[in-house]
Point group: C2
Chain length 199, copies 2
């Protein structure tokens, strides 16, 4: 982008995009501001116009990622033309497509940073936990609706089941990164939709 004119908003977006890409590859600690500046051609002073510090940059990358993730959640879990269980299935199928599209690299930014940062920074830990709790809440509400509609067994505690789904999907996402195929996600989906999420 060096030498191109860019509006302030697009310069900030450019920094966030590149930061996200590098942070997926290397984690937070090994993402260097200089590397981001070099790759984008944005001058240092400009960076500090948008971000107070590396920590602020990291937190804004999390928000940037989370906004696009929320849009994906809205398009699947929020798709009211589908039944609750079908919405959940659409969400997981989308996750599998994304993993395939990334050649099973990257994993999930929230999972990656939770692993890397939870013992190192209370600021990151709290923000990551906030995101995790919100996703659990969304799953739990969906499962309650599925229960009300008779799609899943009435005896499930939906909060527990939501926690369980989230753990299973986070773990599968991590394992896909290691196996470099989406079989761990497929296995979770088979057990979930053929056995567990039944009336």
């Amino acid at each position: 982008m060096s030498g191109q004119t860019a509006t302030k908003e697009s310069t900030k977006t450019l920094l966030l995009e590149k930061g996200l890409e590098i942070m997926f590859e290397k984690g937070y600690n090994n993402t260097g501001i200089m590397e981001v500046l070099h790759a984008t051609g944005v001058p240092k002073g400009s960076f500090y116009h948008y971000f107070e510090s590396k920590e602020d940059f990291g937190l804004q990358i999390i928000n940037y990622f989370q906004n696009s993730y929320d849009a994906k959640l809205n398009a699947t879990i929020g798709n009211l033309s589908l039944s609750p269980v079908a919405r959940l299935k659409a969400y997981f199928e989308q996750g599998m497509e994304m993993a395939s599209g990334n050649a099973c690299r990257k994993g999930c930014l929230i999972g990656n940073l939770s692993t890397e940062m939870s013992d190192q920074s209370e600021v990151f830990r709290k923000r990551l936990l906030e995101i995790q709790v919100k996703t659990t809440e969304r799953f739990a509400n969906l499962l309650l609706e599925a229960q009300q509609k008779g799609e899943i067994c009435q005896s499930y505690n939906c909060q527990d089941l939501a926690e369980f789904l989230q753990s299973a999907w986070s773990g599968a996402t991590m394992r896909v990164k290691t196996s470099k195929n989406i079989e761990p996600m497929k296995a979770v989906m088979r057990v979930l939709f053929e056995k567990i999420l039944k009336p």
Copy 2:
């Protein structure tokens, strides 16, 4: 240990122990050999007597961790005085106790390194995958036995269920690190042992 006399084996163990401790805290990339030497008082030349390189050190730490993990698996999953489902429960309960004992820090070394290293090193990825596959196999055999003894539903595909359990437990282990309480593990256990692993 500086100044103390130590046998060759105990010097190597000392390096592995300290390396494991630091790698739990900082991951592989940010574990410095100099930091390990400084913390243990072992001279550099001695380090390179035991380990060819930092990569070799990392891989040997994985093996060292995995040996103690296998011993824990043997004491629970391998405890033939218990029924298959009770053995699995003992394994998860042991995991919860360890997480509590670590103040919900650290997580699982295999999970941490899988997240950090799977896109960065084929050597690490393959070793980590090998360990994951072996654990899945062990779960699958246990579940087959549970099925044969009528402890769990006959219609489960035990390979899929084993993959599912492993993903759920890996995800819960990661989420415990972020929530700093063992509730995510407890939720997985409630759903598993009260709902899924039933005849």
